[in-house]
């Protein structure tokens, strides 16, 4: 069952001269209940902006230009006793609630979204290690989150739950009375995970959950996220630039570039049946620990700035396979399987299927073979297209 459905979402940042940075542009994907979904991409590709927009935590100059964020859950005041949105709410056009009970998070105002944060969707921020308050006991910070979002809970119950949560992520319950500086780096990260789980959310957003951590601790935190998912059945949206971390924890993922989703689908499809020039280039450019003889090839050029971007594919300037069509418009998401079986590009109708934004999706075999050649990725080749 779909938990979050992102529909043609565009997010911009206002900058001077009445221009705008198109940080996320026409992005669609969906997250199922109980799955781990990854947004992977280089810095500035829009992955963090995308994630922050879900809980309306964009910076002050950021705004949702268009699109919807349909979430399977609704505000407490719109619920009936079974937790479903009431009939009159669904039928009333003033409320952003759909026939199937999904609520458009992008249409909620500031106070309304606060009821969604923590209770339905919790976020583990980037550099979570520094997100604990140094002057409050760690346990009290978790207790506070519980009491704020579940006012009917008593202080003693909340305290009990905080200790239980810490224990579940592998921290001795007694440490609830410690301050953040008494925790090691890995323990802080675990505590932040415990805090995010405080109100038993349906969706956990983890923004670069392991980036500042050493590799052995990273290993443990990845295991912890897997365990949490198994135990609570929570869906996880992971944002990372690290492709190998993604390869390990995601069920499905989307590769972002220049504010667009270039390719999305099941993890295995992305890695084994790669269907987009950018993903192919990315795969060429990072080393793996298991291979002894490897030749890395980088993608020439640099990512676009996204300030009032031109028409045409965002990856065109760096793509060795660009043709004329690529200059006129950014390609829609094509269905990879149908392109491979029928040899014809057809727009994908299912957000969950393997999709690729490339005008040449009907020539995949050729792209894959050529992408393996080192000469393909030289600046000369790209200029001479």
């Amino acid at each position: 069952m779909t938990l979050l459905e992102v529909n043609d979402l565009s997010i911009r940042y206002r900058v001077d001269d009445d221009e705008a940075v198109h940080a996320v542009d026409d992005v669609s994907f969906s997250i199922e209940r109980g799955e781990t979904y990854g947004l992977v991409g280089e810095s500035g590709c829009g992955k963090t902006t995308m994630a922050k927009s879900v809980v309306d935590l964009l910076d002050a100059n950021g705004y949702v230009e268009s699109g919807e964020l349909w979430f399977d859950g609704t505000l407490p005041e719109w619920e009936d006793e079974r937790g479903e949105p009431r009939r009159e709410i669904i039928e009333d056009d003033r409320y952003p609630v759909r026939e199937d009970g999904m609520t458009d998070l992008a249409a909620l105002d500031e106070t309304q979204i606060r009821d969604v944060r923590w209770r339905d969707i919790a976020i583990i921020p980037q550099s979570a290690m520094n997100s604990l308050n140094p002057v409050y006991k760690v346990g009290d910070q978790i207790t506070e989150a519980i009491l704020r979002h579940e006012p009917e809970t008593t202080k003693a119950e909340a305290d009990e739950r905080a200790r239980d949560l810490l224990e579940r992520v592998g921290i001795e319950p007694d440490r609830a009375d410690d301050y953040a500086h008494q925790f090691s780096g890995g323990m802080k990260q675990r505590a932040v995970i415990a805090m995010a789980m405080a109100c038993n959310p349906d969706l956990l957003i983890a923004d670069e959950p392991t980036t500042a951590l050493d590799v052995i601790i990273q290993d443990r935190i990845l295991e912890e996220l897997e365990n949490i998912q198994e135990e609570f059945g929570v869906s996880i949206l992971v944002i990372s630039h690290d492709i190998s971390v993604m390869a390990e924890i995601c069920d499905r993922m989307a590769v972002m570039y220049g504010g667009k989703v270039m390719e999305s689908g099941r993890k295995d499809d992305i890695f084994e049946e790669t269907a987009n020039p950018y993903t192919l280039g990315l795969k060429n450019s990072f080393p793996t620990i298991t291979q002894s003889e490897q030749q890395l090839v980088s993608i020439p050029g640099t990512p676009p700035t996204l300030r009032e971007p031109e028409a045409g594919c965002r990856f065109r300037d760096r793509c060795p396979f660009a043709v004329e069509a690529c200059a006129s418009e950014h390609p829609p998401m094509y269905d990879v399987e149908s392109a491979e079986t029928s040899g014809r590009a057809r727009e994908a109708t299912d957000r969950r299927s393997h999709r690729s934004a490339c005008h040449r999706v009907d020539e995949l075999e050729l792209l894959r073979t050529e992408a393996l050649q080192e000469d393909t990725w030289t600046e000369q080749t790209i200029e001479s297209r």
């Binding site: 052995i216 290993d219 295991e223």
Partner: protein, 458 residues
């Protein structure tokens, strides 16, 4: 690349240590407190052959950057000697030092901070030429700068010469930093995490550039990185550091494929990999890196080690000893108390022992009872402990309930001893590399066992 006899060492590091924060406050002096310095690099020895790319890997705080800075004389070693091309770098004449400063260069981690924002690319790259008095006047220097910029892929150089760093992308900046290092035609370059600030698609270009320039400029590299896949890609040989010690060094391929030191093994197991996906093994190590200000005695890694060596005459299993040793560490750190066990059994020593014997490791290394209880307790009957050791643990648990943690710790210290805690292992040759681990001391069973899991039972 093979080490052959005709190749000569370029850099020889012998028993080098670097201690920080030796100074004391007035209060400490008055009270007669001993200074407690951080041993950032502790008794490290290794040799870099001419033409090699040597990697130094380890977690943050292991001393790898300090080691790099020692080699380029940004730090003076507190103890030990460093020889560059036969000359001791700590006692050079001014003329020798001038030559050294030209022949040895460093590339820093962050190209957004290592370039002066008010200097153009030309000024930045020409500065080492001026300082080293290379080149005849402006035209010659400009020519040299132009050549090196072309070499590092900033072509045509004319476009870049008058740019400021803020006009360049991260990849271009790092290329400028590389050009600045290479313009004086050095022999030895220390690169400290040269690509960690760059995006993935840019990284490979800079790495390949460094490889190509190694041939063109006939360079020897020391490549410092926390990223083991990069070390594998770049380096012929590698050293693994942990808390200031070099725990293992040898050919990179051999280190990766058959790690000898338990820390190396854990480190490589922890690296996620696209090829392996979720099939890979996790790292079998407990806890986190302790503070370098107060490092563990003996082998620095012993409190986390999966293969800690039981004492002579230990009749139980190695795993049971590891558990008992962790129990001892927990008592010493004050982590075990009446509050550690559930309320209903708060005075039962067996419960405390069952809780204290748990290991803080990934699920795949835990016992079934541990997995079922979320790592809360073990099944005591399944732990292969000698009867007297079990009694020591139970007595210690009773002492803890009685509020006498000190005598509990003392009794545990006496029973659960290990060479790993008492003696510092010296690096020893094992299968073509140097390993600092007691498992490879002498001809014991551990020394020949390639998968170091087997406990020594002699």
């Amino acid at each position: 690349m093979d080490r052959t006899d005709d190749r000569e060492p370029l850099v020889e590091v012998e028993n080098v240590s670097k201690l920080f924060d030796m100074s004391q406050g007035v209060v400490d002096t008055v009270l007669g407190r001993d200074p407690n310095p951080v041993r950032a690099v502790d008794d490290v020895s290794f040799t870099i052959e001419r033409g090699d790319v040597v990697g130094i890997a380890g977690e943050s705080g292991c001393g790898k950057t300090t080691l790099g800075k020692l080699l380029v004389q940004l730090y003076e070693p507190t103890e030990g000697s460093i020889r560059f091309d036969g000359t001791d770098v700590t006692s050079m004449t001014t003329a020798q030092e001038r030559e050294f400063r030209q022949r040895v260069q460093m590339i820093f981690q962050d190209p957004f901070e290592s370039l002066n924002p008010r200097m153009t690319v030309y000024d930045t790259v020409a500065e080492p030429l001026k300082l080293n008095d290379i080149g005849e006047g402006y035209d010659d220097r400009r020519e040299r700068v132009r050549d090196v910029l072309n070499d590092v892929g900033l072509a045509p150089a004319e476009v870049y010469l008058d740019s400021f760093p803020d006009e360049l992308s991260g990849g271009e900046r790092q290329r400028v930093a590389i050009a600045r290092a290479l313009v004086v035609d050095p022999d030895f370059v220390v690169a400290d995490e040269p690509v960690s600030m760059l995006d993935v698609s840019i990284r490979a270009g800079v790495l390949n550039l460094m490889k190509r320039l190694q041939d063109e400029y006939d360079l020897t590299y020391l490549f410092i990185s926390h990223d083991l896949s990069l070390i594998r890609y770049m380096c012929d040989r590698a050293g693994i550091m942990y808390l200031g010690n070099m725990v293992e060094q040898g050919r990179t391929d051999e280190l990766v494929e058959d790690p000898k030191h338990p820390y190396t093994e854990a480190l490589f197991d922890a690296v996620p990999d696209v090829e392996l996906g979720d099939e890979r093994r996790r790292a079998n190590a407990t806890g986190e890196v302790p503070s370098p200000r107060n490092p563990p005695s003996g082998c620095r890694y012993h409190p986390r080690c999966a293969h800690i060596i039981p004492p002579d005459g230990w009749t139980g299993s190695q795993e049971a000893f590891r558990r008992a040793f962790q129990f001892k560490l927990k008592v010493r750190r004050g982590e075990l108390g009446p509050g550690s066990v559930d309320e209903g059994v708060a005075d039962d020593p067996e419960e405390l022992v069952a809780h204290g014997l748990t290991l803080d490791v990934p699920d795949e290394y835990q016992s079934r009872t541990e997995v079922e209880t979320g790592g809360h307790r073990v099944d005591l009957s399944a732990v292969d402990l000698p009867p007297d050791a079990r009694q020591v643990l139970l007595d210690a648990a009773q002492s803890i309930f009685d509020g006498d943690v000190e005598s509990a710790a003392a009794a545990l210290d006496e029973r659960f001893t290990t060479v790993c805690e008492s003696d510092r292992p010296a690096p020893r040759p094992a299968d073509g590399r140097d390993v600092a681990c007691h498992l490879y001391d002498g001809g014991g069973p551990g020394a020949t066992d390639s998968r170091v899991g087997a406990p020594t039972d002699d």
